[in-house]
Structures are given as structure tokens and as C-alpha cells.
Assembly symmetry: C3
Homo-oligomer: 344 residues x 3
């Protein structure tokens, strides 16, 4: 960014408490990371000591009564968090604005329904036969949308994504690079000493307002649909098995695995590196702690689960408390034995 | 799908027990998911109650003596599972049929041996110098086959796959999107305060009839070969380290990691999110439970292993039983102490 | 490889102890894997029995006093490991030598700074607007370098990699296939029953001499930078969250996850499938064992940590020893009870 203290005052609608309006500012950062040509913000009393020591050239504050180094300019604003967000949104690094058009270096099959006035397709993307793409959607460079897949409106499909045949994505989806939607489910029947493939002929359906993190994989159903419910947000490197049904507004943190044919309710939270076995149900609003592994259905809503096999947090804590008593117990039994032997 | 009850009777070679032949059917689904315009199947008595409550328009059954809602049409067939499979295969979503030809939007190096009459190469695929591809193989859009790699016959290499230099893939392989075959093994020597790269100059060899799930990574050997044995099936997001030798007909479920230089026998099964340390041997027909982590070799065939560090299932169960006795033990020792103090 | 025993003698500067110089050799392998037309090496007494049984056509040895089969030719060299390395480097499978030029099948935006005399860009790569690429760097086929990203000199960026907008990569980076640098961090604010996206407008900065394994994902910062320090080596399928700061010369083995806003010191080692929660600090030179999960900061340098929640190795061992005493304890308490009852 290239602006001045005065420019920031104008952008945030603030009032310059201290400092010269023409001072050049070339970036923004947190209080403990900001340098002399950067602006920062003080939004929470927790960070009072960081403010005292900051090297920031300027800080957004909500009060005139703050302790900051003398050389730090101060801008008074109503809400420093909101004001700083305005700076980030203006000067942060973001994908270029949507602009319709199909790159000459992209491949779009003749039978694909892609309006060049309403859709953006970048270089080396491949839009195969029968695909439909909604208005306002951008398809990243190197991305492959396979035969007859359908993508809704205002989606941001990143680079090097793969959407396989017939899969359906709703509106406003954000799909990060390297995601694979609709690879085959993992299904085999063992006969004559070999694993025979069970054909995977269903699809994946992604409802509206879903976000899917980099290199996550979501398998197509054996038949019917694997479903990601409206508003659910999935982090990077997550695996969703075939015929899984994920509810609405779930949060699935990185490297989690959800096995095939498992049904997840709404507002369920999966901590990082957690997992669920196949053919289970998880009721609404349950939370799985990071690294927990669930191997039986959770029918009650609203619990928190920990460990492997995952137990209700209360039970898990009780067990962990009992384990801590073990050294004392060993000692006590030795003493009892000794006393007994003396008595005997 | 667009057909009628009569069409389904014809396709499955069944007999219409109930319903009108001209009734339109537009899909297929499981008993508990099927709607009034869909056909389902009843293949196992376990699902008797689902049959009683189904909303399916028609159900394939093996007997005239079944309890189904009055409005549900019934088709008598010998084997409902097999008959339903015929429907899925006809109407399910699958990649378009193989059709030889090289897309104008693909790149094929002059020295690559790719017969345009026998191989299919889709848009934006890159086939680099010296590559050989066998008859009947399809290379997906955006896929990169690097210098001198060799791919056998009748393979299905999905979109956005990467096969690196010199790697060899046998016949009838199915490689799902985003798979990386032949990235460098992870090898460094620490000297002068830095990790110095040990060059990784071997290859990956994939034998016949192997399937590899989306975004799985298989590293090339330091020298020699990393091997995936015939008929082995690998799920999504699995990591196979350099110089690992995986036997024949293994099953490796999602997010499992097999470290470098480990040798796996035949018919070994890895549950989801399991792992094996490096330089170990796992004998034939062992099964690792989901999330188990093996840190020493398993020389006996046929066992089941659980937990981390993984123990034989029997031992693991014994330990878990003993842990359950801990609360009772704590109580008992308190009582003993009390009695003793009273006696003393 | 196609050479003779004499050719290997010349290449390694060795002395032929046994065998005919014109014998054809067509490959190299470890002692226990080498066949009659391959050369191997004997670099460590640990492998004496493998040398006795080897089927290798020729073996590099450091001494005339070794036990090898009669039909095995022997070449005396100063250091068999170094000599064998010379063979691997000459005959191993490696990416073709760097040769500058932009493939006709690549896409390079007009505003990108890519010197065709100094940079190599392969087929179907996409170099978007404002990108800068340093001399001696190769961009693999199908790779996408997004708007305004900067890549240093002498980097090896593999096929199908994605680097997102504005991210910065230093010199001599090795980025393996399928890596995603700069996908959005996973950040949401829950309001009105939905997860609202927090814009992720920072970047990823990769310092010099970093290597990143296949399909690993590194998220861009909310604002500011996610940093991978100089000389750090990252294996496959690793997840690095937004605003994480990874120190210099760390080793991060496959399938590990490092959560957002966590700061890692220098020379820290993460075993495979390990994890660290968000907003923590890990001091220099700590080692996390495979599958360990750290949920609180580690302020002391130099420790080794195990299990989940991760404990110092000593403590973890003590606990595991105590657990082993449980069966004996149960028995002892039963006996005490019995004795007591008899006494009582």
C-alpha cells in the first residue's frame, strides 16, 4: 500500500490525535509486528503492553487515554477493529476483481453452457461437454470441470481444482486449489483372491454457501448423492467418503476424515485431524475435539467428544483424573502390604 | 434417468407384481431415500422396516411375501442386488465411454509414444518427452505425464494427476484426480547446521490392477523402486514414503501414512488414518485398525492391531479392560486402608 | 543405464579386484535387491551377511578382505557410499537438465516478468498478470502462478503446483507437485446462525532453500504473512494454517498439521502425523514424536514430546511404566483383601 497518515484518517473516518498528516505509510500489521512505516490497531485491553512497546508508525485507537510510544501517531476511531478491517480490505492482497470472459488459453467444449459475458474462465482451464456454469462464477487456471457437472452462480472455483462428471455445486461456493470433488468412492468386493471394484455411479452435491479448503477430497456416491449441506465450511486436506451426508453450517477443520455412509447433523464441529467411522450418525451441534476418533453413533445433540475411541468430554476427563491417581495408588498399596506383613 | 415401470421390468428381466407398466420413473435410490418417482430394491431382511415405510415408487423384491406400502409398485426378480446394479450401470453417472484421440488443446511431445488411434488424451494434458502410453488408456484433462514415464494399457488416469520422470504404471490402473506419483522422497543429511538434500533418483513402479485415490502421494525411491503391488487399492490422501514396498492385494484406507523403506506383505489392510514407521516389515494378511500406529515390525501373519503404539487386538482389549477396573481399584484401596487403620 | 564393469571402474576411480572389464552392467541396486547385471555397494559391516548372499554382478568395496560370492565382481574404492552416489547421480532418474525457454503451450500474461532466456516454463503452465520469476527457475507443466506472486532464482516448481496471489517464494525452493501455497486461511465469524467469512488478505512468504512435499497446503495470512523459514523442509500432505510462523531449518514429516497463528522456533522436528494447536509457541530444537499432538506452548528448547496431549518423553515413559504395573496392582489388591478378610 502507498498512502499517508492523512489518507488513513480519511479512509477510516477517524480523527488525527497525534502525528503529521503527510507521513507516508506503506503497510499494516499487528501491534507487535508493525514497523515505523506501518499502521496498526489497538482493539482490546489485553494488548495494552504491546501498545506500549509498539514500533508502529501509527495506531488506530478508541480512546485518547492510551499509553503508546511518543513517536507513534494516533488516530481516534469508533471501533479500531472495524476501521482496521477497512484498511485490510482496501490494501490487502486479494484475487483480482471478477471480470467476465473466457481466456484464449482455456478449453471449453462446444456443448458446455458457459456465457462468456457472465462467467470468467482462466488460462488452461478445461470445461468439458455438457457442463453448465452460472453467472458471476470464476473458474481458476488449470481447473477441470468434467462432463455434465453443474456449477451455480457467483462461485469462486480456484486453480487446479477437479470437479468430476455430473457433480452439482450450488451458489456462492468457494472451492480452493487442488480440491477434488467426485472422485470414486472406495468400494470393493473381495472375490477369487482379488478386490473387485464396485462401480461408483452417484454424484456429489454441494449446497449453497459452502467453502472447501485446498486439496480436500469429496468422493462421489456409490449411487445417489454425497451431500455437503448449506453453509458448511471445510478446511484443507479433509476426506469425505462416498454417500456421506454432511448437514448445514458444519465446521470441519483440517485433515479430518469422515467415512462413507455417515450422516452428520447441522452445526456439528470437527476439530483438526479428527475422524468418524462409516455408517454412523452424529446428531446436531456436537463438537469433536481435535484428533478425536468417533466409532459409534452420537444420538444426543450438543455434546463435546474427546480421544479415541471418542468419549464424552466429562467421561474422558474423569478417566484422565483417575489415571493421575495411579502413581499414588501404587505407593499406597505397597505401604498397605508392608503394614500388613508387619501386622501378620 | 427417464423410463417407466415397464422399462425397469424389461431391463431387470423381472415380473411386475403390482403397479402400472406406464408409470414414469426418473431415478433410483436406497429404500429410505427413494421418492415416489424412484425405484429401489429390497435385498436383505435387515431392511424389512425400511421397506414397510418406503416412499419409493417401485421396489425390486425377491419374494411375493413382503410388507410394503400399498402405493409402492413391486417387481419380482431373482436377485434384487444384481437387478438394481443393472439399473445403476445403465442410468448412473459415469465417465463418458473411452474414445481414442488427442485433444487439440493437449500437449504431446514429439518423442512421446502415444498412438492417437488407441489412446485418449484430454484437454490441457501434458505428455512430455519420451513418455510411452499403452492402448486403451485415457489421460484426463490437466494431467502431467513427465519425461520417460511409462503407462500401461487400459488405464484410467484422472484429471490433474502428476506422474513424474521415469515412473512406471502397469495395466488397468485407475488413478484418481490430484494423485502425485514420483515426487521426491523426504531425505536429508544434516551438516553444517543445514539439512542437505539427498538426491532421490529412483522411481515408482505401480503393478497391474492398482487403484489410487484422489490426492494420494507416492514418493520415488532414493534409488531403485518404490513399489505398489498388483491389485492393491489405495484410498484418498494416503502418503507412501520412498522405497516402501507394498505387497499385492492390500487395502489402504484414507489418510494413512506408510513411511519410507517399509515393506508390506500381501493382503494387508490399513484402516483409515493409520500409520507405519519407516524401515519395518508387516507380514501378510495383517489388519491395522483405523488410527492405529505401528512402530515395530509385525513378523506373524494374520493379526489385528490397534492403538498407538499399536498392540495386538487381544492385548489392547486386555489393557482396556484393566483400565476400566481402575475406579473400582481406587475405591477398594481406600476401604482397605480404612479397615486397616481401624484394625491397627 | 548401459555400461560395463570397466566403465564403473573408470567412473568411480576404483580398482578392479575381480571380474572382467567388458562385463555389461545395466543397473544399480542395494545388496539384497541387486541382480546379476547390476552393481551394488558394501559400505557398512552391518550388511556383511547381505554381501555374502548378494546376487549383484559387481559390488563396490573398501577392502580386499570381504566375503562375497565367487561370481560377484569386486571393485575396490576409497568410500563405497560416495562411489555409489556417483553412479546414482550419473545413471539415476532425474528431471531433465534445466534449459531456458517458454513452452508454446504455456500461458504467460503480458505483464508477467519472465525472461525467456533465463526461465523455463513448461506446457500448460499459467503465469498470470504481474508475476515475477527469477533466473534459473523452472515452472512445471500445469502449474499456476497467480497474480503478482514472486518466485526467486534457481527454484524447481513441480507440475500442477498452485501459488496464489501475491505470495513470495525465495531462492532455490523445491516445490513438489500439487502443493498449494496461499489458499485462504480457515477463518469465520458466527453470526445470525451462519459462519461468515473473515477475508484472508495476507500472503505466504517462503524463505530461501525451502523444500515442500507433494500436495502440502500452506494458507495465506488473515493479514501480514504466513512464513516458512530458511532451510526448512516439509514433507507431503502437511497442513500449515494461516499466520503460522515456522522457523529456520525445521523438519516437518508427512501428514503433520500446524494450526493457525502458531509460532515455531528453529531446528524443530515434527514426526509424521503430528499436530500442534493454534496460537502456541514451540521453542527451538524441540522434537515432536510421530503422531504426537501438542496443545500447549513449549517454552523450553530441546525437549522430545510424545502422545496426545503431548507430554515430555520422560513423563510419558513414566506414565507408560505405571500403566504396565496395573495388572499386578489389581492382583495384589485382591490378595490384600483376601488376607485382610482372613485376619478380620
Amino acid at each position: 500500500m502507498e498512502t499517508t497518515l492523512g489518507g488513513i484518517v480519511e479512509l477510516t473516518g477517524g480523527k488525527l490525535l497525534r502525528g503529521e498528516a503527510q507521513t507516508v505509510l506503506s503497510g499494516f500489521a499487528a501491534l507487535d509486528a508493525a514497523e515505523a512505516d506501518q499502521v496498526s490497531f489497538y482493539g482490546n485491553e489485553r494488548y495494552a503492553s504491546q501498545l506500549e512497546d509498539t514500533k508502529a508508525g501509527a495506531v488506530l485507537v478508541a480512546s485518547t487515554e492510551v499509553q503508546a510510544p511518543d513517536q507513534t501517531a494516533l488516530i481516534l476511531v469508533e471501533n479500531p477493529v472495524v476501521a482496521f478491517d477497512a484498511i485490510i480490505r482496501k490494501y490487502g492482497v486479494r484475487p483480482p476483481q471478477f471480470s467476465a470472459g473466457i481466456s484464449d488459453a482455456a478449453f471449453v467444449a462446444e456443448t458446455a453452457e458457459v456465457d462468456p459475458e457472465a462467467v470468467s474462465v482462466l488460462a488452461n482451464a478445461s470445461i468439458l461437454a455438457g457442463v453448465k456454469i452460472g453467472r458471476g462464477t470464476r473458474i481458476g487456471a488449470g481447473t477441470v470441470i468434467s462432463e455434465n457437472a453443474e456449477i451455480g452462480e457467483d462461485c469462486e472455483i480456484g486453480p487446479n481444482v477437479t470437479v468430476r462428471e455430473g457433480c452439482i455445486i450450488g451458489d456462492r461456493a468457494i472451492i480452493h486449489p487442488g480440491v477434488v470433488i467426485g472422485g470414486d468412492g472406495f468400494g470393493f468386493e473381495f472375490s477369487e483372491g482379488r478386490h473387485q471394484k464396485i462401480e461408483q455411479l452417484g454424484i456429489v452435491r454441494i449446497e449453497d454457501d459452502v467453502e472447501i479448503g485446498s486439496n480436500t477430497t469429496i468422493d462421489r456416491a456409490r449411487f445417489g448423492e454425497t451431500v455437503i449441506g448449506e453453509g458448511t465450511k471445510i478446511d484443507n486436506l479433509v476426506q469425505i467418503g462416498h454417500n456421506a451426508i454432511i448437514g448445514k453450517h458444519c465446521i470441519i477443520v483440517a485433515q479430518t476424515g469422515i467415512s462413507g455412509s455417515t450422516t452428520i447433523g447441522n452445526y456439528v464441529v470437527f476439530g483438526a485431524q479428527s475422524g468418524v467411522a462409516g455408517h454412523l450418525n452424529i446428531a446436531d451441534q456436537n463438537t469433536l475435539a481435535g484428533r478425536s476418533g468417533v466409532i459409534s453413533s452420537i444420538e444426543e445433540p450438543g455434546g463435546t467428544w474427546f480421544g479415541y475411541p471418542a468419549k464424552h468430554l466429562k467421561e474422558s476427563r474423569r478417566e484422565s483424573m483417575q489415571l493421575k491417581k495411579l502413581p499414588g495408588l501404587i505407593k499406597k498399596v505397597k505401604e498397605l502390604e508392608k503394614t500388613m506383613n508387619q501386622q501378620g
